[in-house]
Point group: C2
Chain length 250, copies 2
């Protein structure tokens, strides 16, 4: 909190999802989603504290009772209990640190730090075609497939970079107020941002949309967080494990 110059956030989702606050920490793993693979890998590395950006139990507030008889969730809890793994979500505070851990980490991984400003989602990069921009993001962020709305040959210079699922209102507001050449989102609701961009273009506008995928769009932030945190906790080994893209594209 002090390091990040943060004030307490009411109703934050950044709570312990398993384990307890008094257990001695043997090692720290940072990740996007604390999947079964990430948990098993943490056990192998003798790290009992996972810092995850996103939910553990398949809903925003990690309500374990949202779906009745959820055996997947029950078995995940058993696995966590068996190995005494604590998971802490680091979401609201993560985005409140200045600069935002996620957007800074993504800009860094995309080799855009010279164009990054903590106070704005907009980066003005040397002009490239949308096709070139897609290729650059795929290569630097390690993304195999993504979706766009736009003309692959159009020029892009002003990028609004919004990793994760910021929500339709936030995304459309950024598009509407910043007027970037391209909006780069992690995840969108198709009936919100995607349809807004489709209509914008049908009305003669030129803004494009790139949808990177949620996990892969924010993972570089949790990777960068290792370097941010390690100097502050030199006695504990901190490692990043990428939870990765869950989809096969067909």
């Amino acid at each position: 909190m002090k390091e990040g110059a943060l004030a307490p956030i009411k109703n934050t989702v950044d709570t312990l999802k398993s384990g307890n606050a008094n257990q001695p920490v043997t090692g720290i793993i940072t990740t996007m989603f604390p999947t079964i693979t990430v948990i098993e890998e943490a056990v192998k590395r003798n790290a009992n504290f996972i810092i995850a950006h996103e939910p553990s139990f398949y809903n925003h507030r990690d309500d374990v009772n949202l779906v009745k008889n959820n055996t997947v969730l029950a078995r995940k809890l058993q696995l966590l209990e068996k190995h005494k793994i604590a998971i802490w979500r680091f979401h609201d505070y993560c985005h409140s640190i200045n600069p935002d851990i996620i957007s800074y980490g993504v800009a860094r991984k995309a080799e855009w730090l010279p164009y990054y400003k903590a106070e704005s989602p907009v980066l003005t990069i040397p002009k490239v075609s949308l096709k070139q921009l897609v290729q650059h993001l795929k290569t630097t962020l390690g993304i195999s497939n993504l979706r766009i709305i736009g003309d692959p040959e159009q020029w892009c210079e002003r990028i609004a970079l919004l990793p994760g699922a910021a929500g339709g209102q936030f995304q459309i507001n950024a598009a509407s107020s910043e007027k970037p050449d391209v909006l780069v989102d992690g995840e969108v609701s198709e009936w919100e941002t995607a349809e807004y961009v489709r209509d914008l273009r049908l009305l003669g506008g030129n803004m494009a949309l790139i949808v990177l995928g949620h996990a892969v769009s924010e993972e570089p932030g949790m990777e960068w967080f290792v370097e941010w945190l390690q100097p502050k906790l030199p006695a504990v080994k901190i490692t990043h494990i990428a939870s990765g893209n869950p989809f096969t594209w067909m």
Copy 2:
């Protein structure tokens, strides 16, 4: 209401989004999203009443003030006003008719009516591989690209068919209670249903997920709705215009 044996739905989103209830109807268009293209095509066909399954103004309740200075929305309203086009959303009632207009239309288009039951989302089809199932859905529903989680070679027989964006709680509950071989969704939140299926499989489970895309997953329902509605309104020409997939996959 009477034809569908429906009771009034409180706080329904099924309201007039433009035009007024007293204007004479010159023709009816059904669609998923009333995009600028769909509106312009309606004008060409001299049809001034669009029945759309999904929002007109990029948010669930079609709040025109959600985003300040939304010039895309302002220009869409101008276009609707210029041509006196009425848009009515047909969402909540559409899913309340028995059988559900959307799921029936999709099952019909997928050539699955022999396996369709109005009271359940589960269809038991002749056994196919996941890869074959994907190909069948692409061909019958006219889908060019989609995302899956699963092994393309695994066998599928019990399909839970949930077109549209039913929400994580609903989708996970269907998966958890029905235990299908494959969950076929229109749109998912990646931190909900996708992560649930990823963990289920990492724990040794075999259920697969197919994500069709929102618009293309429900469009066959609005196409079928023409046949449902036309005999009830023989004096008015009713036509379907597909709003189509908004994305380019790269």
